[in-house]
């Protein structure tokens, strides 16, 4: 082998070291003696899961390739037949994720951000404290229905324009940070409020249906009933906590607000096109609330996307370019794996193994499964991504000795608490990509807001959910 070939080979090895390590780990696990407490099929599913999680976290190969690899391994390891695997890749939840992402592209394409800017200015006035509160609340409110990245995409230009006008004379890093974090954290908090807030919520709904013995189904309205109070409880404290972390250089943004008002006023009155765009979204939202049981949330989301295209508000090319098809494939693969984890008994085996670690404590402390769930989900959610975390942990937490409805809801909610890192939640990644906030800012602000979110979630699990279930009698 000559020097050039050897160099190319070594470069490839160091580039793909994680892939090689993961493959070796998979082979090693496969050839190790199987534990008696799990079936052969279950253990093989465990090996695939371990490999898939590592591949998703470390990204040594493109994520869509990981998604397809899951299907190949499921069939190769004889966990399910090719037809079964193919079927498990497409479900209403995958349709929902696809439709929501397509609609997000369509909504952002309408340039409604200037309207939002005008709305925020009218509500908040020029005091920084009120502006931060306004961004957090509006971000939370919108992201509960249209997803956090859509909201971040619409509000970030508004926030950054304000910051730019304010930093005309001297840099204002604290002001920049507080405004950007209010957008991101507001979006994260809001995204737990409804099933359409994030892909993770749709994945959990799918798991309730397919990975629990009772085949639980939670409607859009029921989800809101359980989760929306948390949005309300968390939004205002989050904005206040941000005020403790970042001390803005200005208390009043008089000139920046005036300049922003002039800039957005140039767009004139709301156009018919914008009214139609808003109308289609409201129609979709109402359909989610009232018809999701009958026709499924995925079909409604896709109908919304079709309407945007049919009315000419967005071209297919824009949708095609802006939609992350690889992510849809990844979630399809992850859901398929989750279903196989349940069917092959892997989820139960892992959850029992976790329970056995805590021995007698489990029966003494009834709330312990929830604490374990919160701990595992918070850690993985900040390493991986919220949706990936639900896809991986969902079947396991649903198999723990606790109410599957509460456990599933807890996993879906807590997985969104990606406050601590810049890379876990789309909204955090988006503000980080502006280059104006540092990774350390996420830790500084994240631990406070994260702790507050965890405590309020515990409060809701203990007091609110039993009460609401008792009052409304849904199971």
């Amino acid at each position: 082998m000559n020097d050039r070939t050897m160099r190319a080979f070594l470069y490839w090895v160091q580039e793909k070291r994680w892939l090689l390590i993961i493959l070796m780990m998979g082979i090693l696990l496969y050839w190790l003696p199987y534990p008696d407490s799990i079936s052969v099929k279950g253990y093989r599913t465990f090996v695939i899961s371990a490999m898939a999680i590592s591949l998703i976290i470390l990204e040594p190969i493109p994520l869509p390739a990981t998604a397809l690899l899951i299907a190949v391994l499921e069939v190769s390891f004889r966990i399910a037949s090719p037809s079964e695997v193919a079927r498990s890749y497409m479900s209403d939840s995958v349709f929902f994720i696809m439709g929501s992402l397509m609609m997000a592209v369509a909504i952002i394409h309408q340039g409604l951000d200037t309207r939002l800017a005008m709305g925020i200015i009218r509500i908040t006035g020029n005091k920084v404290r009120n502006i931060v509160m306004g961004f957090t609340v509006i971000s939370a409110l919108l992201s509960s229905f249209i997803g956090e990245h859509t909201v971040a995409a619409m509000l970030l230009p508004v926030g950054l324009t304000l910051v730019r006008y304010a930093s005309d004379k001297k840099p204002a890093p604290q002001l920049t940070a507080i405004i950007l974090f209010s957008i991101a954290y507001g979006a994260i908090i809001g995204s737990i409020g409804t099933p359409s807030g994030g892909a993770r919520n749709a994945i959990m709904i799918e798991y309730w249906k397919s990975a629990t013995d009772s085949g639980q189904y939670l409607t859009y309205y029921q989800w809101m009933l359980m989760a929306y109070p948390l949005v309300i409880i968390q939004t205002v404290p989050a904005a206040i906590l941000l005020g403790f972390v970042f001390k803005p250089e200005y208390k009043i943004l008089d000139t920046p607000i005036r300049k922003l008002r002039v800039q957005v006023a140039k767009k004139g009155r709301i156009t018919a096109r914008e009214s139609v765009a808003i109308g289609i979204f409201v129609l979709t939202l109402l359909s989610w609330v009232f018809f999701n049981e009958r026709i499924g949330m995925g079909i409604i989301a896709i109908s919304g996307a079709i309407l945007y295209m049919a009315t000419g508000l967005v071209e297919w090319k824009d949708i095609s370019d802006g939609t992350n098809w690889g992510v849809i494939l990844l979630f399809a693969g992850a859901i398929s794996l989750g279903v196989q984890m349940k069917n092959a008994g892997t989820a139960l085996w892992i959850s029992q193994s976790i329970i056995s670690l805590f021995g007698g404590l489990m029966s003494e402390i009834k709330f312990l499964p929830y604490l374990i769930n919160i701990g595992m989900t918070t850690i993985l959610g900040n390493i991986m991504s919220s949706s990936g975390t639900v896809a991986v942990l969902g079947p396991i937490t649903l198999s723990m000795n606790a109410n599957p409805l509460y456990m599933g809801m807890t996993t879906a909610i807590v997985s969104s608490f990606g406050y601590f890192s810049a890379f876990a939640a789309p909204a955090c990644m988006i503000i980080y990509s502006s280059g104006l906030v540092k990774v350390s800012d996420f830790l500084r602000a994240g631990w406070r807001v994260g702790l507050m979110s965890i405590l309020t979630t515990i409060f809701v699990i203990i007091f609110y959910w039993p009460l609401i279930i008792h009052l409304t009698n849904f199971k």
């Binding site: 050897m6 952002i108 950054l160 789309p426 980080y432």
Partner: protein
């Protein structure tokens, strides 16, 4: 001839990197491509971030890397690298092509300078960039991460200048490290041209680990001296016994630019154990230029 200059921020060290790159490029009449390599969003969120970037550009808020490139562009103008008719920097002229962004600089001197924006891992992106055009030299700021310097020197198919502690007001000498490696002759030529342009003296050093000097070492040493004499470049020479890296570092201090050829060691051993140029670049307190051999 084309040089590639990697930058990551607008700090003083980056300014030094640009300054030395511009000086050497002038000496070689080379074009400069400035590349900013930013953080790549996780693949799972990449299209969301791209969508936000598009929204932001509608509000005339551009990629943070553009600000750095703009700063670098102005810095090169101030160093006199660009002629008076320097092109105008317009953020909206950013063109996406082949997995990277390139700033279109329409005027004639746009050929002399290229501004490129990439996202991802430093080594990967520099390597990809060197595959798009035939670059002679990559200029990078020194990193605290020694492994990064190791990888850049071993895997980039160009000569590499690692810039550390470069001070514009200091009178630098060129320390030409000569041995029997394949790249030595080229390093001598490169070093001589650099010295001529910087009006610097050259100190030729050959270090042997043994008490005596092998024929290859002595021949290379003689050839270097002859070449410098013919080129009429001020020089001095020394033959030293001991550990080569220690000897280079001791001689270089902070006021030399070390110039040496890429090592001839087996690539596999180099990957695990490093080489003389790699260790020198990792440990030196001054700029180190590692020159690739004629046939790469």
């Amino acid at each position: 001839m084309r040089f590639l200059v990697g930058i990551k921020d607008t700090l003083e060290e980056t300014l030094s990197t640009l300054r030395i790159a511009a000086k050497i490029a002038n000496g070689f009449s080379a074009d400069i491509s400035v590349i900013y390599i930013g953080n790549k969003p996780k693949e799972i969120m990449a299209s969301e971030v791209a969508m936000v970037r598009k929204s932001l550009s509608d509000w005339q808020i551009y990629h943070p890397g553009l600000e750095v490139l703009h700063w670098a562009f102005n810095a090169l103008k101030n160093f006199g690298f660009l002629a008076g008719d320097a092109p105008e920097f317009k953020p909206e002229n950013l063109l996406e092509e082949k997995g990277r962004f390139r700033m279109i600089l329409p005027e004639a001197s746009g050929e002399k300078i290229r501004l490129i924006l990439r996202e991802g891992n430093l080594l990967d992106e520099l390597k990809k960039e060197t595959e798009t055009r035939d670059y002679e030299l990559a200029v990078i700021g020194a990193s605290e991460d020694k492994r990064k310097i190791h990888k850049l020197i071993q895997f980039l198919d160009t000569s590499v200048l690692v810039v550390k502690n470069f001070q514009a007001n200091l009178e630098y000498k060129v320390l030409l490290c000569v041995d029997d490696s394949r790249a030595t002759r080229r390093a001598v030529i490169f070093g001589a041209r650099t010295a001529r342009h910087l009006d610097a003296e050259v100190e030729v050093i050959t270090v042997s680990k043994r008490k005596d000097f092998g024929k290859g070492y002595l021949n290379a040493h003689k050839w270097a001296l002859k070449y410098l004499r013919l080129q009429k470049i001020r020089h001095s020479a020394s033959l030293v016994n001991g550990n080569p890296v220690d000897a280079f570092l001791k001689k270089a201090g902070r006021d030399h630019i070390i110039v040496m050829g890429k090592g001839t060691q087996n690539e596999f051993l180099k990957f695990f154990r490093g080489s003389k140029p790699i260790h020198t670049a990792q440990l030196a307190d001054c700029p180190v230029l590692v020159v690739k051999p004629f046939d790469k």
